[in-house]
C-alpha cells in the first residue's frame, strides 16, 4: 500500500514514502521536517495546520499527502527564505502574537489575502481570518498589523 510520491515543499523536491491515509500535515512535520504547521483540532476548525497549496490556503490536516503530489506547498519557512516579509515585520512591530501556536496559519491566511487584495478593509481581514483561532490575543494586534500593511506599510500612520 505504501507508495513514493514527490512533494514540492518550499520549492524543494521531497520524495517521500507514504500510505494513502497519511495526511499532508503528518508528512510535512514528521518526514519533511517542516514544523510550522501545527497539529490542532485535526478537523479543519482551528486553522493551525494551514499551508499554501499553489498559493491558496488549505488545511493540511484535511489533505492527504497523496493529493498534494505535483502541487506547490508553501509554509512560513518558505516565505521567509529571503528574510521576513513586510507582513511578518508588521506582525513583530505590532506584537501580534503571544504563544505563537496560531501564528503560522495566520501569517499564511494573511499572505493569501494580501496577494489577492493589496488593500483589504478591516472587514475583509476579519473574513480572511475567520477560520484561524487564536486563544491569546483577542485578534486586535493581528488585525492592526495586516491593516498596517494594507495602508502601505508605514508604521508612523498607525
Amino acid at each position: 500500500m505504501k507508495r513514493t510520491i514527490n512533494l514540492i515543499v518550499n520549492e524543494e523536491s521531497w520524495p517521500v514514502e507514504v500510505e494513502a491515509g497519511d495526511t499532508l500535515l503528518d508528512v510535512l512535520r514528521t518526514r519533511v521536517g517542516v514544523k510550522s504547521p501545527k497539529v490542532g483540532c485535526e478537523r479543519g476548525d482551528c486553522g493551525a495546520c494551514t499551508v499554501l497549496m499553489d498559493g491558496q490556503t488549505v488545511r493540511s490536516c484535511l489533505v492527504l499527502a497523496v493529493e498534494a503530489e505535483g502541487h506547490r506547498i508553501t509554509t512560513v519557512e518558505g516565505l521567509s527564505k529571503e528574510g521576513l516579509t513586510p507582513l511578518q515585520q508588521a506582525f513583530i512591530r505590532q506584537n501580534s502574537f503571544q504563544c505563537g501556536f496560531c501564528a503560522p496559519g495566520i501569517v499564511l491566511a494573511a499572505t493569501e489575502l494580501l496577494a489577492r487584495n493589496e488593500h483589504p478593509s478591516e472587514d475583509q481581514i476579519k473574513e480572511a481570518l475567520a477560520g484561524n483561532l487564536c486563544r491569546c490575543t483577542g485578534y486586535q494586534p493581528i488585525i492592526e498589523a495586516i491593516l498596517e500593511v494594507s495602508r502601505g506599510g508605514d508604521e508612523d500612520d498607525v
Binding site: A20, R43, G47, L64, A109, L129, A130, G131
Partner: protein, 296 residues
C-alpha cells in the same frame, strides 16, 4: 496523525475510469473531491471506505459552463471558484451569497458545491439555495447519465438519492427568466467554521412568485411550500409577515442538538424569515443591501 483505518487511493484521469471503479467497488468506495467532510469523517471512523476515488484530475468535472437556459457547475468546482465567478455573481447572486457564508477561505478553497450536497448534512449551506433555484444533480453511472431534481435529492441526514456506483458530475442551475432576487440567511454561533444553527434561502421571481427553503431545522433541507403559496403575489408587509410566521411550525421540525435548542431554532427562524423577506424585497426595489452582507 495517520488514520487508524487504511484504504487505497486512486486518481482516475477520466470519467469512464472513475465510474468503472465506483461500479465495481460499490459501497466500499467513497468519492474524494475537497475532502473537507470526508477526511475528518474517516478520521472519526464515521466512514471506513476501502478505496477513495479522487476526482480532481478528471477534466470534464471542472469549471462553470453557461448554456442557453442553464449553467452547469462541475463537481470539482469549489466555493472559492463560485465566489470568484463573474457569471455566478451576476446571474446567481444568491449562490454567491451562500458560498461566502461557507466556513472560511481555507475550507472554501477545497470544499466543493457537489461535495456539500453529497455529504448531505441537514445544515449544508448549498441545500436551501439549490432547492429554491430548482437545481438538478447530474449523475453518471455505468448505464448512462441521469438528472435528479433537487427536491428528490435529500433523503435523510447524510442520505441522498445517489446509488452505490454512481458519481455526481455536476449541478444544473436553470437561469431564472428575468431578474430574480433573493437572500441566504445563516445563523451560526460565530463566523468561521461553524455549521448553521438554522438557515433560510428565499428567491422572488419577476412575477411575484416566491420560493423559500430552510436548512438545519429538519432531517434534510426543506422547501416551505405553505409559506411560498401564502406570500406569492403579496407585498411584504407587517401583516403578511405576521401571518407567514404562523406557518413556520408546519414547515419545519427542528431538534435540540449541540448547536442550538429546538425552541431557539423555532424562534430564530421567525426572525430570519422576516429579515430575509424584507432584505429580498429591498434588493429587488433598491438593489440594497448588497449581496454578501450578513443579514443576521
Amino acid at each position: 496523525m495517520a488514520f487508524a483505518h487504511q484504504f487505497e487511493y486512486v486518481r482516475p484521469g477520466d470519467l469512464q475510469g472513475a465510474v468503472e471503479i465506483l461500479s465495481q467497488a460499490g459501497h466500499r468506495a467513497q468519492v474524494l473531491a475537497g475532502g473537507t467532510d470526508l477526511i475528518p469523517w474517516i478520521g472519526e471512523e464515521l466512514l471506513s471506505p476501502e478505496v477513495l476515488v479522487d476526482i480532481k484530475e478528471i477534466e470534464g468535472l471542472a469549471g462553470i459552463a453557461q448554456g442557453d437556459r442553464q449553467i452547469r457547475i462541475g463537481a470539482r468546482v469549489t466555493f472559492s471558484e463560485l465566489i470568484d465567478s463573474q457569471l455566478i455573481r451576476q446571474r446567481f447572486p444568491l449562490v454567491f451569497e451562500m458560498a461566502l457564508a461557507v466556513a472560511s477561505p481555507g475550507i472554501r478553497n477545497r470544499a466543493t458545491l457537489a461535495g456539500n450536497i453529497c455529504s448531505a448534512v441537514p445544515s449544508c449551506d448549498s441545500g436551501p439555495v439549490l432547492l429554491v433555484h430548482q437545481a438538478e444533480v447530474l449523475v453518471q453511472g455505468t448505464s448512462g447519465e441521469r438528472k435528479i431534481p433537487m427536491k428528490d435529492w435529500f433523503v435523510g441526514p447524510r442520505e441522498t438519492a445517489l446509488q452505490a456506483g454512481e458519481l455526481v458530475t455536476g449541478v444544473h442551475l436553470p437561469v431564472p427568466e428575468g431578474k430574480g432576487d433573493g437572500c441566504y440567511v445563516k445563523l451560526g454561533r460565530y463566523r468561521g467554521e461553524d455549521l448553521a444553527q438554522a438557515s433560510m434561502a428565499a428567491l422572488v421571481l419577476p412575477d411575484d412568485r416566491w420560493r423559500i427553503a430552510f436548512g438545519a431545522v429538519a432531517p434534510t433541507p426543506v422547501r416551505a411550500s405553505r409559506i411560498e403559496a401564502f406570500i406569492s403575489g403579496n407585498k411584504i408587509t407587517d401583516e403578511v409577515l405576521a401571518e407567514a410566521r404562523k406557518l413556520i411550525p408546519r414547515e419545519i421540525a427542528p431538534i435540540t442538538d449541540i448547536r442550538a435548542t429546538r425552541r431557539y431554532r423555532l424562534h430564530m427562524v421567525q426572525v430570519m424569515l422576516e429579515r430575509g423577506l424584507r432584505a429580498t424585497q429591498s434588493r429587488r426595489e433598491t438593489g440594497s443591501p448588497p449581496y454578501g452582507m450578513k443579514l443576521i
